[in-house]
């Protein structure tokens, strides 16, 4: 590692002040499971930082609250272990519990934060498809105040986000789930654990009151495009339809078309495209089944 400075602010304001004072060349440091590895191994997609600002001690990043109408507030600084074991998340946003519960090892889950996972902007991030499918919004606080952004607009490319110098992602807002709904996230990896998603798929579905048609469908894909993406055409093809096996298969085929995978050391484009179809179809079926059971 090259030399750098390290700051450990105790409040969000203090953290913002440090970025303002120190100027360009700083990086926020959350759990460190991506950033520290990138600094050690040189795998970073950004200029080597002059300084790090630790987010570990910022109480503003640890919000966690549930509200019937507003949904879930989820601090960006919560760890994967905290997210995966939280009862609100497990019961109302199971896809997110799935994703957070798959990141690395127990050790990784104790360190890595959900905000860090999103800000690292890996197309394969395991919490990204769930958060997309669950229509999360990101609260961004910076020198010019704060803004709320649909997460879909947050990523620009691998390792790239809309965050400007001195801005921090502080929390996520997840709308309350609809009645008769369910969500799921699965990923494909060669190993059972300790792996990076070759493909990750999250789906969230809601049935209408009679349970006969799909009122709402959200499908999000990881590791098959420069950023995590929504499969909007596949969603549209299913919404308002009866969840027949044919309709589900058609939606999965459309999702395959929406994927723009590349070949790399973790898998070929052909494998990824194939898996998008298989997994989307399986997950839709399972989610619809769960939504039916309630």
């Amino acid at each position: 590692m090259r030399p750098f400075a390290h700051f450990a602010p105790r409040s969000l304001d203090e953290a913002l002040d440090i970025f303002r004072r120190e100027g360009e060349g700083g990086r926020p440091l959350a759990g460190g499971t991506d950033l520290v590895v990138q600094l050690k191994e040189g795998g970073h997609k950004f200029p080597y930082p002059r300084y790090l600002v630790s987010l570990r001690r910022l109480p503003e990043l640890r919000a966690l609250g549930w509200h019937e109408e507003q949904g879930l507030r989820l601090g960006a600084g919560l760890t994967m272990a905290e997210v995966a074991s939280n009862d609100w998340v497990r019961q109302r946003y199971p896809a997110l519990a799935d994703g957070a519960g798959l990141v690395g090892s127990r050790q990784t889950m104790n360190m890595a934060t959900v905000g860090g996972n999103v800000c690292n902007a890996a197309p394969s991030a395991d919490t990204a498809p769930p958060l997309l499918a669950l229509e999360a919004q990101a609260r961004i606080v910076g020198p010019q105040g704060e803004r709320l952004l649909p997460l879909e607009e947050f990523w620009l490319g691998p390792g790239e986000t809309v965050l400007r110098h001195g801005e921090l992602l502080t929390e996520f807002l997840l709308p309350p789930p609809l009645p008769r709904s369910a969500s799921l996230y699965r990923r494909h990896t060669p190993r059972q654990q300790m792996d990076i998603a070759v493909v990750g798929v999250a789906v969230a579905v809601a049935l209408d009151d009679g349970g006969r048609t799909l009122k709402k469908v959200r499908i999000a894909l990881g590791a098959v495009a420069p950023t995590p993406i929504r499969a909007r055409r596949a969603e549209a093809a299913l919404e308002g339809q009866a969840p027949s096996p044919e309709a589900i298969a058609r939606a999965a085929a459309i999702a395959q078309e929406e994927a723009r995978p590349i070949s790399d050391v973790r898998g070929s484009a052909a494998l990824r495209r194939h898996l998008v179809g298989v997994m989307t179809e399986r997950l839709l079926r399972e989610a619809i089944e769960r939504a039916r059971r309630g």
């Binding site: 590692m1 090259r2 030399p3 191994e41 040189g42 494909h188 060669p190 190993r191 059972q192 654990q193 300790m194 792996d195 990076i196 070759v198 050391v265 973790r266 898998g267 070929s268 052909a270 494998l271 194939h274 898996l275 298989v278 997994m279 399986r282």
Partner: protein
């Protein structure tokens, strides 16, 4: 855990499960490994690894690195003390001086006060390269028009690692006269293979590919060297082979072996990958700066620039008669050596033609050079590659002829007296007994029921290893208080020192607690060969047994004089020597200790000496069975159950032996399912880390059933034979056979990744 044991005498210690003598230190974190050692004035080394696979070095600029505070030196090949260089031997090319032959080859060394400073400065060393065409794929490299992986023909290949693992007499032909990337080849023929195929009722053929894999010991390489003012060179290395390191370092640096002390620090996993490599370089650095220096490789550096195991391509054609008799085997076995010779062509050829009785053989082996990191040994080097082909073919033949795959193997399995392809006959071996043991496992007996499940199947495969041979010696001394010290020169990798304690305690009829075993350094310990080739217990164990018997005779001789009773009428138990039938006539080990060590002692110290030369191998065979589930839509293979039966001759410590069998089998599962070093077309390693180089995790390895089979060897202590290596061999074939059984698709390339399984199922377009 079961044990298939013949009738045999009852022993007090050997043959019983005991706790490893070093386990308590290891579970408390007290064991000192190489990176835990501290020396005053120590400098830390980071190597500059070439970022190109084949190039000429134009210039190395060190000024920026030298300007970093805390950097003491940046050394290139030109700055090293005079030494012998052999361009054909990897470890004797200390730093690349002119031609870079593989991605990751060290070209310079940065020495600094701490490893962070060294690593930071390392990145500031500026090297200009003139890139040369790189050849990466071994089949491409064999073509006449392929670029050459290196300038200059191979003249003096170093095959010591291979010989340490497998010691057989056979002629390996050096390269042809015209320039070629084929650095050696070998041929074995028997009978008439064409006539054999004509006689066969079924013939199958295929091309099996195995990927380059890394030993992936959890402790990366670590070496410390110190050259003192009196001209003594001390090396602490995480090596399996201290005496070999001493020999090679002394030879390379022109020092007498007597002035080189090599201490094998506790080895945090070796598996053949820690014989010797950077010791001459680190020693040369220490001599250059006259300070102790330490090289602790990072995982990335270790994966780029240690000695992983080769990629191989095996073309095999096999013919069988309707009654299951194997009648012809024709094989072309190609190993990719990387940038320096040293690939396991010979064992591969011997084992592909030496696992089954077969009257007609035609086997050709080729070692090919490419611009990749050069390979070394990994547990039964070369064997899993050929077993993958041979054992897949055996299943294909059995299926074609509608025969039981286990019965087919039993019918053809080699036995005592059957010839290897080289003509050398097998000594007593237990391949059939292993198959019989597997036939009794739950997995095998339940296979028909398992197949009812649409995506589950059972696969069987066998494998073997011949083993290395090197002489060994040991001493057994009586201490003043009556306790016993055993001194050996072999690094304890697998719990061998615990077995040696059992052997000494057995021979001296003592409680285990009275015996202590130490591995000395090369100045203090009696000679032993490398702890490789599964031979440590087989060879050093014999030496310990002899040394203990010698000590016993010395003890009895003195006791006989003291008690005035003939030695034949004495017995010893728990540190007391007494006359048979006259319990009052006795002398304790403690008294004897005093009588042989005290001031003005009457008798010379008791030092038992054991020295042996080993000329006969005790090959080890194993049969393994896997139950898998295959997801036919994602290609994912999950191993549900796994059993390994292995002939170990005699299990001196069954607890350690089971651990060896389970550990090797899990490595076999790793190369079967996950492990693969991926190089791009320019020869750059794409996954030098333990995230994308996937070792099996606890989630991936089910509990492995270990069945110890004991067919005694002729020379080993108590009948023990080789143990460590065979268990890795059948994994890829057993899994491939199980996958074929489960979903009907045969995969010809390991690891059996989801992608390869899907392609075999015809489910991936393009």
């Amino acid at each position: 855990m079961a044990r298939e044991t013949l009738e045999r005498p009852r022993f007090r210690h050997v043959g019983r499960p005991v706790d490893r003598i070093d386990a308590t230190a290891k579970v408390t974190g007290q064991t000192v490994y190489g990176d835990d050692l501290r020396l005053p004035r120590l400098l830390h080394v980071k190597l500059v690894h070439a970022p190109v696979a084949h190039a000429r070095i134009r210039r190395i600029g060190a000024s920026k690195a030298l300007a970093v505070p805390g950097v003491e030196a940046v050394l290139t090949a030109a700055d090293l003390p005079p030494h012998r260089t052999n361009p054909d031997a990897r470890a004797q090319v200390l730093l690349a001086s002119d031609e870079v032959l593989f991605y990751g080859q060290p070209v310079a060394a940065v020495l600094a006060r701490d490893p962070y400073t060294a690593a930071y400065a390392r990145d500031l060393v500026e090297v200009e390269y003139e890139e040369l065409p790189a050849v990466v794929d071994p089949l491409e490299a064999m073509r006449d028009d392929a670029p050459l992986a290196r300038t200059g023909a191979i003249r003096d290949a170093d095959r010591s690692e291979e010989q340490g693992h497998i010691t057989v007499e056979a002629q390996q032909e050096q390269a042809q006269s015209h320039p070629s990337n084929v650095s050696s080849s070998i041929t074995f023929r028997r009978g008439d293979v064409e006539a054999g195929f004509a006689e066969a009722d079924a013939v199958v053929e295929g091309t099996w590919r195995s990927s380059m894999v890394h030993q992936s010991y959890i402790e990366p390489h670590v070496i410390i060297a110190d050259y003192d003012a009196s001209g003594e060179l001390s090396i602490w290395s995480s090596t399996q082979a201290p005496f070999h390191v001493r020999h090679e370092v002394a030879r390379t640096l022109g020092l007498p072996e007597a002035r080189v002390r090599v201490t094998a620090t506790e080895v945090g996993g070796g598996f053949g990958g820690k014989i010797y490599l950077y010791e001459p370089l680190v020693a040369a650095l220490a001599m250059a700066v006259r300070r102790p220096v330490k090289l602790t490789m990072s995982r990335r550096e270790d994966m780029l620039a240690a000695t992983p195991a080769p990629q191989a391509v095996v073309q095999l054609k096999a013919g069988m008669k309707a009654d299951g008799t194997l009648v012809a085997l024709q094989a072309r076995v190609i190993y990719d050596a990387g940038a320096f010779p040293g690939a396991p062509v010979l064992p591969g050829c011997l084992l592909i033609g030496g696992s089954y009785k077969c009257p007609n053989l035609d086997i050709q082996g080729f070692e090919v050079l490419t611009n990749k990191v050069s390979v070394g040994a990994l547990r039964a080097p070369g064997a899993p590659h050929v077993a993958f082909a041979l054992e897949s073919a055996m299943d294909m033949l059995a299926q074609r002829l509608e025969l039981d795959p286990l019965e087919v193997r039993l019918k053809n399995a080699v036995e005592k007296g059957d010839p290897l392809p080289s003509g050398q006959p097998y000594p007593a071996i237990g391949l059939k007994e292993c198959l019989e043991a597997i036939a009794r496992t739950d997995i095998w007996r339940e296979r028909r029921r398992i197949r009812q499940h649409p995506h589950r199947g059972v696969g069987l495969a066998v494998g073997g290893w011949l083993g290395g041979l090197q002489p060994a010696s040991a001493t057994v001394g009586l201490n003043a208080d009556g306790t016993i010290n055993v001194t050996v020169g072999a690094a304890d990798i697998t719990g061998t020192n615990t077995s040696f304690a059992q052997i000494a305690a057995e021979e001296l009829n003592l409680p285990l607690e009275m015996v202590s075993v130490v591995t000395g350094d090369t100045r203090t310990a009696p000679y032993a060969g490398m702890s490789a080739g599964s031979k440590t217990t087989y060879t050093v164990g014999r030496a310990v047994k002899l040394a203990a018997e010698d000590a016993r005779q010395q003890i009895l001789a003195i006791a006989s004089q003291r008690l005035e009773v003939p030695a034949e009428e004495l017995e010893m138990q728990d540190g007391v020597v007494r006359a048979r039938g006259q319990p009052e006539k006795q002398v304790t080990f403690r008294e004897l200790g005093r009588l042989t060590t005290g001031f003005g002692a009457r008798y010379a110290p008791i030092v038992g000496r054991g020295a042996i030369t080993a000329r006969r191998q005790a090959p080890g065979f194993t049969a393994q069975v896997a139950e898998v589930e295959v997801d036919p839509d994602t290609g994912q293979v999950t191993v549900l159950r796994y059993a390994v039966a292995q002939d170990v001759g005699f299990a001196i410590n069954p607890k350690s032996v089971e651990g060896q069998m389970q550990g090797g089998a899990a490595q076999g599962l790793g190369i079967a399912l996950f492990e693969e070093m991926v190089y791009d077309e320019k020869g750059r390693l794409l996954n030098p880390n333990l995230l994308d180089y996937r070792l099996p995790t606890a989630r991936d390895v089910p509990p492995i059933e270990a069945i110890i089979v004991e067919v005694p060897s002729e020379e080993g202590p108590y009948g023990a034979r080789i143990v460590g290596e065979p268990s890795i061999v059948p994994g890829p074939a057993a899994v491939a056979n199980a996958v074929a059984d489960a979903v009907g698709a045969r995969v010809f390339e390991a690891p059996l990744t989801p992608e390869r399984v899907l392609r075999a199922l015809g489910k991936l377009r393009d």
